[in-house]
Amino acid sequence: MDRCGGDAVIDYPNDRAIAAAAEKHGIPAPVLIRDLVRVVEVLNLKNQDFFSARSVLAGSMGLRCFDSPRFTVYDADFSTSSDTINPPTAMKAKLAYSDDDLEIAPADLVPHDQGGTAWKSAPVCFTPVFTSLIPNEDDRSFKADVSFRGMLVDGLEVPFKLPYDLAIWDDDPAVWIMDPHETLAEKILGWGAHRQVKHYADLAYIAIVSRPGNGRLIELDYACAREVLDGKLAVMSQLQPDVYAAFPNIDALIADLLAKPQLDGAQWTEIMYLRDQRARFNPALLEVAVTHILVPGLRGG
């Protein structure tokens, strides 16, 4: 009786298993459930042939395939093209999902920037019949961000990993994610332009796990990283010239990374890491990772 569901894309865990995993990893149960729902969404899109080398899972959910311990709370990022989804509003039908245990009902896709290159569906509401651990209806939604800005590098097809052990499938399903070089470039631009702590945290993680040796999880080629960063900066400078005016070239971005980050202490405490990694990923480590590993790498040192 632990499992239920008919044509579901995962084996839904029961409430006791969810509560135990939430407790073990220090993640609030509603957040973990929302994550499970986004996992279902990813597999739903996979079943509809959304994913390919040019249509990928991006952002922090993509980074989890490299064991990132940071737990993204609300959004799911996708990067695609008009070859896959046309018009962008057609994404709504793809996002909709239903099985015996879960229903996902997306809002209409609306443009999220003036150029119409980024769209979002918010809220994507869900009805999680499989659990009673999310009684607050306000918690039963997430956001899907869909970029149509085009990718500079083909994505990677990798096993879709979960940061918790709920045995929702037998074998990790394969999913296309954004190439980490491109993710790195997006995070560098995100930090430079928006100064959000989460971007800096992800940059540090990429730097740490791309070091050669045991425990290397990302094969980062810094020459390639510079090239992708250059291309990405060109695209974004054209789309949002005001936002990126302070960065005429990638050397300006890299120099910016070398500066001591000014991290808002209160915001830092809201960054959600898995419990067993929380002490390790502190602001001091992140700064060292970015300034002593990432920046020298990008400078070819």
């Binding site: 609030p28 920037d113 009673s132 306000d138 000014q262 209160a266």
Partner: protein
């Protein structure tokens, strides 16, 4: 364990009939007394049998069949409301309300609530089944005066007659700006204000609440509105605002610890911008892009 005796069954039936999920000794003593001489013992016994979950002294929520914790039975805000409602006026605000309005993507297990300064609570926080209730004492000047426009009564659960007092979006924005330390920091607060531009926020009401809370809040509000491109709203609501002689820190939590040389003073409002200016611009821009 869950077999309900005849009296317990009547209690549960009465609660279901009245579309309630909660019960308390203090408020329900009268009708419970028709079935028992000792309502307190009855509810404790029902809790021991896992028919109810205890969420505070003399306060319980019904345990739906198949559940094993209070967090399955009621949202944390309802549990907070049950604890607070018995002791006087309260409203949910700060980070909790900003999350409720989806002005930020964060999640918090701390529930923030404003209570009257003269209230009977002698603690600043209360343990919840899966988190913490943080109490913020508010002086009469900072207490909502326009209940209809600053507070909203929200149904806690669909199909129940259980309600929560929550700050309106406008009030929550002001509360966040007044106490960034209770709203996950200024990055979150600025992001919320920026996102609120895409909602139907009543900016004149935001200004009115700030004005009532004093000159410092007026100054912060005016500066922030200007940064958000809402200069006209600021000028309309604060026509006589001058920066002369004022030095009001933008971030009351001072979480960036900038040196005096790094802090600039906005001449028009008298606000000390004790936050890196590129951060301010970046947070606002981020609200407009994924």
């Amino acid at each position: 364990m869950r077999a309900a005796g005849p009296i317990a069954a009547r209690v549960l039936e009465a609660l279901a009939d009245s579309r309630r999920r909660s019960i308390s000794v203090a408020e329900d003593r009268a009708w419970l007394s028709q079935w028992t001489k000792d309502p307190n013992a009855l509810l404790e016994s029902m809790a021991d049998s896992q028919l109810l979950y205890r969420v505070g002294r003399g306060r319980y929520v019904v345990a739906p069949r198949g559940t094993f914790s209070a967090t399955q039975a009621a949202p944390a805000e309802l549990i907070a409301a049950l604890i607070l409602g018995a002791r006087g006026d309260y409203f949910i605000s700060y980070l909790t309300a900003l999350i409720d309005y989806r002005l930020t993507d964060l999640h918090s297990t701390t529930i923030y609530a404003g209570i009257r300064q003269a209230g009977t609570f002698d603690v600043t926080s209360v343990a919840l089944p899966d988190g913490t209730l943080r109490l913020v004492r508010l002086s009469p000047r900072n207490w909502p005066v326009d209940r209809d426009r600053e507070l909203t009564r929200v149904r806690a659960l669909a199909d129940t007659k259980e309600f929560i007092w929550r700050a309106t979006m406008e009030r929550a924005l002001v509360d966040g700006l007044s106490r960034p330390d209770l709203a996950a920091g200024l990055e979150t607060v600025i992001g919320c204000w920026a996102r609120a531009r895409q909602s139907d926020a009543d900016w004149d009401l935001v200004c009115a609440i700030c004005a009532r809370r004093g000159r410092s809040m007026e100054r912060r509000c005016a500066l922030l509105l200007r940064l958000l491109g809402l200069d006209a709203v600021a000028k309309r609501n604060f026509p006589n605002l001058s920066g002369r002689g004022a030095s009001t820190p933008l971030d009351r939590s001072n979480s960036f610890e900038l040196s005096p040389e790094q802090i600039t003073r906005d001449r028009d409002t008298g606000v000390l911008v004790n936050v890196p200016e590129d951060h301010l611009r970046g947070w606002i821009a981020a609200a407009a892009t994924p």
